[in-house]
């Protein structure tokens, strides 16, 4: 394979991945309430409509609240977990690291049904708290993975050095570990936030009829009448994901974060 063929292959795959998004972006510009591509007349009216129609404003607000809270929850659980697994061995460390990656490895339908019967059993079915906690548990894997990578990249001698200089355990955590871990905390939060925003089946099963999120709203509209607002939401989601991951790539080391060790600066 020569260089042109390689580049061509990568670009072709990326183009295929981009095609539906391009079409949806075009559809979102339709002036009429119709899904036409290319749009006969263009306008940005549906972008305004998303933020003014209460029909869509409520799911938008729900989605943002759930994503912000559940990502925070996921990070709060992942932090002590990753620190424990990093500094200790033994059955608890092994069990915790398995528990940390399991939620995201299983098909989400299964977890969704598990959450459904759980919240029904304790009588919190249909509440937003249930969605937030469920997402927090489901997405805990993402900060666990980023934090473990961050800790793995840290020289353990830094902790020991701080200890020999008189730092107590709490001071080591506050003055050495957390500052060095901050980029990984932020990216773990960002991953969890974006994925919570996009998550459908758990939100649907746990509180789909009472707490509508944007994906649920889109799916409902898919069944009961198309509107270009759906396309607007899709475009905004793509834009948000690109912005978040782009920022992580700009200020962090994305290849390293995703598990590559040997990426040269070129």
């Amino acid at each position: 394979m020569n260089g042109a063929v390689r580049t061509g292959y990568v670009l072709a795959i990326l183009a295929l991945l981009a095609a539906p998004i391009v079409v949806v972006a075009g559809v979102s510009l339709n002036a009429q309430q119709a899904l036409l591509f290319p749009p006969p007349e263009t306008s940005l009216r549906w972008y305004g409509a998303l933020f003014t129609t209460s029909d869509w404003l409520v799911p938008l607000r729900n989605s943002l609240v759930i994503a912000a809270a559940s990502a925070a929850l996921a990070v709060l659980v992942a932090l002590p977990l990753a620190l424990h697994v990093w500094s200790r061995s033994g059955w608890l460390a092994r069990a915790l690291s398995t528990l940390g990656v399991a939620p995201f490895m299983l098909p989400p339908v299964i977890s969704a049904l598990g959450f459904l019967v759980f919240w029904v059993t304790i009588g919190m079915y249909g509440q937003m708290t249930a969605t937030i906690v469920s997402h927090g548990v489901f997405l805990v894997t993402l900060p666990v993975v980023t934090l473990s990578l961050g800790l793995g990249a840290m020289d353990p001698a830094l902790v020991e050095a701080a200890r020999t200089m008189g730092a107590t355990r709490g001071q080591v955590l506050r003055t050495v570990i957390l500052p060095l871990l901050l980029p990984y905390i932020v990216s773990g939060y960002a991953f969890a936030f974006v994925l919570s925003l996009n998550e459908y089946i758990i939100a649907y099963m746990v509180a789909g009829f009472t707490v509508e999120t944007l994906p649920i709203k889109i799916f409902n509209s898919l069944r009961y009448g198309y509107t270009p607002i759906m396309a607007v939401v899709a475009v905004l989601f793509v834009a948000l994901a690109v912005a978040v991951f782009g920022l992580i790539g700009r200020f962090g080391n994305l290849p390293r974060l995703l598990g590559a060790d040997r990426v040269e600066e070129r």
């Binding site: 394979m1 990568v10 990326l14 991945l17 539906p20 079409v23 949806v24 559809v27 119709a34 899904l35 591509f37 659980v77 002590p80 977990l81 424990h84 990093w86 200790r88 608890l92 069990a95 915790l96 528990l99 399991a102 299983l106 098909p107 339908v109 299964i110 977890s111 969704a112 598990g114 959450f115 459904l116 759980f118 059993t121 548990v137 200890r163 355990r169 570990i177 998550e199 089946i201 649907y204 099963m205 789909g208 799916f219 898919l222 396309a231 899709a234 989601f237 793509v238 991951f245 782009g246 790539g249 994305l254 290849p255 995703l258 598990g259 590559a260 060790d261 040997r262 990426v263 040269e264």
Partner: protein, 284 residues
């Protein structure tokens, strides 16, 4: 003896995440297991009990066919995705850091997209009014625009679209850690690039490739929305039926039994992947 310790957190702190995940992750599975053998109350939810009626329903040809459909769809998607993703990842891992970052951002953006949005986008792309039908008609390939969805083709496209970024990201760490000097050594010893690829790169990555195939398989096994949006009722998978039974038929015991079945299949396959990974680590 009180150990002078350089552990960053006290041991008891691990109790917090442990308890949290036990209550909100393990307990739901335990309840689900309980529900799967509970007695169904038509119209209501269920009452506690122990019966295998829900499991017995699998034995009908109808559900046998559903299971077969699910497995066939996922296996197909896994094969296609790994075949497409592997050369993609190999090329990606050899690119410069900036280029890699850009491609990774694109992949992550697609990966994070909701199944709903992917379903909607693809159904638009394959639709009569806004999709490739228009494009083909404009090119003169077909006389008049037509829709390509719902169809088996549309569904398979959707599954691959969903799983391809996942497959690439699963393959990315082992591929990028592969020492490029190994391939170069083969080249110096006289192997053509293609031959070096097939005789060095592929065999060295056999375990990660199998692992990626299995993970994509499990991943697509959980797809519940695309079959409804892009496929015909004959393409409904186990996951669609779980949702359907739980929400619309209000038959939680049966939904739970199906989820348990899916869980067992998934766990077995994930376990197999881990085993493959360990063999490799042991050999290295």
């Amino acid at each position: 003896m009180s150990a002078p310790s350089e552990k960053p957190t006290p041991g008891w702190l691990a109790a917090l995440p442990a308890a949290w995940l036990a209550v909100f992750f393990l307990v739901p599975f335990a309840i689900m297991l309980g529900v799967s053998v509970a007695h169904r109350v038509p119209g209501g939810f269920y009452e506690p009990g122990f019966e295998l009626a829900s499991y017995a329903r699998f034995l009908t040809p109808f559900f046998g066919k559903i299971l077969l459909t699910s497995v066939a769809l996922s296996a197909g998607a896994a094969a296609i995705c790994v075949a497409l993703a592997f050369p993609f990842t190999v090329i990606l891992a050899r690119m410069g850091r900036r280029a890699q970052t850009l491609v990774l951002v694109a992949l992550l953006a697609v990966l994070s997209l909701s199944e709903v949005i992917i379903g909607f986008s693809l159904s638009t792309l394959l639709s009569k009014t806004a999709g490739i039908g228009n494009f083909f008609a404009w090119l003169g390939l077909i006389a008049e625009s037509r829709a390509y969805t719902p169809s088996f083709f549309a569904l398979m496209t959707g599954l691959c679209y969903l799983a391809l970024p996942y497959a690439v990201l699963v393959l990315y760490p082992p591929v990028s850690r592969l020492d490029p000097e190994l391939g170069e050594a083969a080249r110096i010893m006289g192997a053509s690039p293609m031959r070096a690829f097939w005789t060095v790169t592929v065999p060295m990555l056999r375990a990660p490739l199998m692992g990626a195939g299995i993970l994509v398989f499990v991943f697509t096994l959980g797809v519940y929305l695309l079959p409804q949006v892009l496929g015909q009722p004959a393409h409904w998978t186990l996951s669609v039926h779980i949702t359907d039974q739980a929400i619309f038929q209000s038959n939680l015991p049966f939904a739970a039994a199906m989820a348990v079945l899916l869980l067992i299949v998934s766990l077995a396959l994930v376990g197999l992947t881990l085993l493959l990974g360990r063999d490799r680590a042991g050999a290295a």
